[in-house]
């Protein structure tokens, strides 16, 4: 038998497309078409109200219903979503976290009503809350109760849905928030430990090896694909060691590092978007090239990632990348191609050492739950360094800071600019459907189920899952389930990380901006003060954080309150704080509804300060927003933050009738 060939070609990884939008029915159709194209697993994207536990008629849900994912309000929606899909054969991944127990309960309830037992189900609930605090933003409850809910899902599935992956410990979102490879490894491992420690308190010790074996990861792979591959090998190594040393897992099979991937999206650009295809292919190599650290499941973003939501055709293109890699190339015919490579071993060693040091720093702060504030500010600092390197040209991004000459792209030539636009009527339809659902169900059963849910939530020792499944059967809605838990657990706001972020290296440009801020501030009589606001449920905080930190670094006073504010909260803050300018950031696509609403509330409150906005704002919408009173619109191609700052200072000067900079 030859050592450099496998006796038999490997089976490919699970191929998925992260998809879902509008209604359950529309998404079901999309899933069936995707499966027909050779996709082998489902990956459900939920809309933000569903992810954060609000019904579609809640104030915070405005503009978000069915937008970035499918709206699932109750078991009727889940039935429609899964209609005609054989649940005992399908492997379904659900990107769901704060409300993971609830969506799993709906899934189990629907399977039961279709005569399929939990033991036959396979799939994944993402169910990782720490990375929601650190990056992703769809948390709902405070840390203590959230860790308990995670542990409940793990404890329940280990017993009743044994083929389920109850949690995906995520490092993907950390890299998307600026993490270095070392941070990605260290924080993911620290997070996994916090989860295991929480589960340990809720299951019999004898089950811990099984629990360990059920923990899987969801990682990222950036365009530096050699180092990124090394990162995955480093993670395998550390995970195996943790299993052995901290959790006494003897069976090596249970210590295997199992992971799924979404490749890097932060590095995908708005300018020359076709270049993103090359990036995606190379990133896919990072997670498939070496057999000993190959992904179990892969989903790839699309070429138009930085423009807006992908259409079915865009997603098909990305699925075909996976299929070419798996079925046309010889990738799956060989044993591990990096075995014995000095370069690879050296890189792994470097990363393991760095990660261990960072894990120690987290441990010194009492572990991942206690260290959320620390980790968040470290991520903001790393991201700031990344932004600086792009601005200064130390980090090349083709089409952004080098090779910017381009022909017009035919890909974006259509009326919509090459993206999917969700029908705005979906929200009204979903609200009407929800009202019908509420009218037709047995209210007594619903009330009883919610009472029981609240009791279990307060009990601390009981598992939340059985009461959630009963509530699902009774016709409880997503918002009601979450509100019952909010009643028991209270609300929470995660740290923003910006206050602690260290000041970056200074430069001539910064100095000159500071002088300009000083000059305008003197003329204003007070230091230039800006409010950076994030209206709606959108959790994309990177842009707002970087704007806030840079604002401080050029000498402004910056009020930043984090994500998920209502327009009235933003208006109240602007009024009370006496800010000179308001900057709003929206990436989730709800700008058409929310921006005009914020402006209306500001003006009603008597605040006449200029408003600038940034985020994923398609050119087609920018004009209408300017019409509604927006002074300037910034999108990802405006990567030079100092330029944005100069604009803002100029805008304030102009608004107050001060002379422009010399």
């Amino acid at each position: 038998m030859s050592e450099h060939r496998l006796p038999e070609r490997d089976r490919p990884w699970l191929m998925r497309t992260y998809a879902g939008h509008s209604t359950a029915r529309a998404s079901n159709e999309l899933y069936r078409r995707n499966l027909a194209k050779g996709q082998t697993g489902l990956s459900v994207a939920f809309d933000l109200p569903t992810q954060t536990g609000y019904d579609c008629d809640h104030e915070l849900a405005r503009g978000e219903v069915g937008k970035v994912g499918v709206a699932i309000s109750h078991k009727g929606d889940m039935h429609a979503l899964l209609d005609g899909i054989p649940l005992d054969e399908m492997n379904t991944s659900m990107t769901i976290n704060a409300t993971a127990p609830w969506l799993l309960a709906l899934y189990v309830a629907v399977a039961e009503e279709n005569g399929i037992d939990g033991s036959k189900l396979s799939g994944t609930t993402q169910n990782d809350i720490l990375k929601e605090y650190l990056s992703r933003g769809t948390y709902a409850f405070p840390p203590g109760p959230s860790m308990r809910l995670i542990a409940d899902v793990v404890a329940y599935t280990v017993e009743h849905v044994p083929r389920w992956n109850p949690i995906n410990v995520c490092s993907y979102h950390l890299q998307e928030a600026g993490a270095t490879p070392v941070q990605e490894i260290a924080y993911a491992m620290a997070n996994a430990m916090a989860v295991l420690d929480a589960v340990r308190e809720r299951v019999d010790e004898s089950l811990m090896p099984t629990v360990f074996g059920r923990i899987s990861f969801f990682v990222n792979a950036g365009v530096r694909f050699v180092e990124e591959h090394a990162k995955l090998r480093a993670m395998s190594l550390l995970w195996d060691e943790l299993g052995r040393e901290r959790y006494d897992v003897e069976d090596p099979k249970l210590r295997r590092f199992r992971y799924g991937v979404q490749v890097n999206s932060l590095g995908l650009t708005e300018a020359q978007p076709e270049n993103n295809v090359q990036r995606i292919v190379l990133e896919a190599l990072a997670v498939t090239l070496g057999r000993s650290a190959r992904a179990r499941a892969i989903q790839l973003p699309a070429w138009n990632e930085a423009l807006g939501l992908p259409r079915p055709w865009d997603q098909q293109w990305s699925l075909r990348i996976q299929q070419v890699l798996a079925f046309e190339t010889d990738l799956l015919e060989y044993p591990d191609v990096f075995e014995g490579s000095k370069v690879m071993d050296g890189l792994v060693e470097e990363l393991v050492t760095g990660a261990r040091e960072e894990m120690t720093r987290v441990a010194e702060r009492g572990g991942a739950v206690e260290a959320v504030g620390y980790m968040k500010s470290e991520l903001v600092s790393s991201h700031r360094e990344r932004v600086r390197r792009i601005e200064d040209g130390d980090l090349t991004v083709v089409g952004i800071n080098r090779f910017t000459e381009t022909e017009p792209s035919p890909l974006t030539a259509d009326a919509e600019g090459g993206i999917l636009v969700v029908d705005p009527d979906v929200e009204a339809e979903q609200i009407a459907a929800l009202e019908r659902w509420r009218a037709e169900r047995d209210e007594d059963a619903v009330r009883a189920a919610l009472d029981e849910l609240r009791r279990v939530a307060r009990s601390e020792s009981e598992n939340i899952m059985p009461a959630s499944i009963a509530a699902a059967h009774a016709g409880v809605t997503t918002g009601e389930w979450a509100q019952a838990l909010r009643d028991a657990f209270g609300d929470y706001r995660a740290p923003t990380g910006v206050g602690e972020a260290v000041a970056g290296a200074t430069s001539e440009e910064l100095e000159s901006l500071r002088e300009e801020v000083d000059r305008v501030s003197d003329a204003l009589g007070r230091r230039l003060k800006v409010l950076v606001g994030k209206p709606g449920l959108d959790g994309h905080s990177n842009g707002a954080e970087q704007i806030a930190v840079r604002g401080r670094d050029v000498g402004m006073e910056v009020v930043y309150e984090g994500i998920r504010l209502t327009p009235s909260q933003i208006a109240a803050s602007a009024l009370q704080e006496g800010v000179h300018v308001i900057g709003l950031s929206i990436l989730s696509g709800s700008h058409r509804e929310l921006i005009p609403s914020v402006i209306a509330q500001l003006r009603e409150a008597g605040v006449d300060a200029p408003v600038v906005i940034g985020g994923i704002i398609p050119e087609a919408d920018a004009a209408a927003l300017r019409e509604a009173g927006v002074a300037a619109v910034y999108t990802p191609k405006d990567f030079d933050l100092n330029r944005i700052m100069r604009d803002i200072v100029g805008l304030v000067a102009q608004h107050h009738g001060l002379a422009a900079a010399a």
């Binding site: 000041a503 009589g525 007070r526 230091r527 000498g555 006073e557 910056v558 109240a572 704080e577």
Partner: protein, 316 residues
């Protein structure tokens, strides 16, 4: 709107005057001081016919101990009791850039439609002691209109001394498991606060032992009357009603008028000294003499008037 007009509105307890009043008080525009003086004159004890009604509370302590989270609960409790609240949250200024990130209000949950709460963040600027230059004036202005005015400042060792000048009651907030406040107290680096608060009581044992340690330190310092309250600001909140009672209790036991009068005279002198330096003081016959002069002036005068009186005397 003029300073006098804003002051009048505040005196009539028109809370909607607060944002503009703060914009004015914070301004360093030419002509600013006169307008601020006009505003403060309208809310002086003389104009009010007595001391401003508010309870001015200072909440101070090391970074990240949970001051703002605690305020979130306190504000809710005060609002429940029908009291209107203004919060002045002071954050440090970056030495490098002069800019600041103001993040306290993120932790103070309020209903944006509630007109009875006002929160303003300010950067400390280049002043020591964590108190923005304008904060004292801001507190005086708001104290005419609101039932409670809270000043949140960061630091230990200096900030509580500074805030004591602006507040009727100072609560120092202590992180369980960190000994800095305890050491500062014992070493006498820090003045004994009016109330001590141990946060994060949900952390259990370490909070309890922090309370014990502080109590025994207070006993040793012969300050047994200072209350130590353990609170938790994450759900379910704990100790909030006790803290409200302790703060009210302190105020009831204090001669507020005397404390404020003393503070106003100190401010006037500090402002004068900052502006005119040692030469100015010499012109008044030295610090002692200046204090004596202040003590002889009408107790109902506001700070700018007191300062004007000092300047007049120095020029004589």
């Amino acid at each position: 709107m003029s300073g006098a007009e804003l002051g009048r509105r505040l005196r009539e307890r028109d809370l909607s005057a607060a944002p503009a009043a703060l914009n004015l008080v914070e301004a360093r525009r030419p002509g600013g001081p006169e307008e601020v003086a006009a505003l403060l004159r309208e809310v002086s004890p003389g104009a009010l016919g007595g001391d401003a009604p508010a309870h001015v509370v200072g909440i101070t302590g090391p970074p990240g101990v949970g001051k703002s989270s605690l305020l979130s609960e306190l504000v809710a409790a005060w609002r429940c009791a029908g009291r209107t609240v203004a919060v002045l949250a002071v954050d440090p200024t970056s030495r490098r850039s002069g800019g600041a990130l103001l993040g306290d209000r993120a932790r103070i949950a309020v209903d944006p439609a509630d007109r009875g709460v006002f929160i303003r963040s300010t950067a400390a600027g280049d002043t020591l002691g964590g108190l923005a230059a304008s904060t004292r004036a801001a507190a005086q202005a708001l104290a005419a209109a609101f039932d409670v005015v809270v000043i949140e400042t960061v630091g230990v060792g200096q900030s509580e001394t500074d805030v004591a000048d602006a507040a009727d009651t100072v609560a120092v907030v202590v992180q369980p498991g960190s000994g800095d406040v305890l050491q500062f107290l014992k070493a006498g680096i820090m003045e004994i606060p009016d109330v001590l608060v141990v946060t994060k009581a949900d952390l259990g044992n370490i909070a309890e032992s922090a309370v014990r340690d502080l109590r025994s330190a207070l006993t040793a310092l012969d300050a047994r009357e200072v209350e130590v309250v353990a609170v938790s600001s994450i759900p379910p909140p704990r100790g909030i009603d006790e803290l409200v009672a302790a703060l009210d209790g302190h105020r009831a036991a204090t001669d507020v008028a005397a404390r404020r009068l003393h503070a106003r005279r100190r401010h006037a002198l500090a402002d004068f000294a900052a502006e005119h330096g040692e030469r100015g003081l010499r012109a008044l016959g030295g610090r002692r003499e200046a204090e004596r002069l202040l003590d002889s002036l009408d107790p109902r005068l506001d700070v700018p008037s007191l300062r004007a009186a000092l300047e007049e005397n120095a020029a004589r």
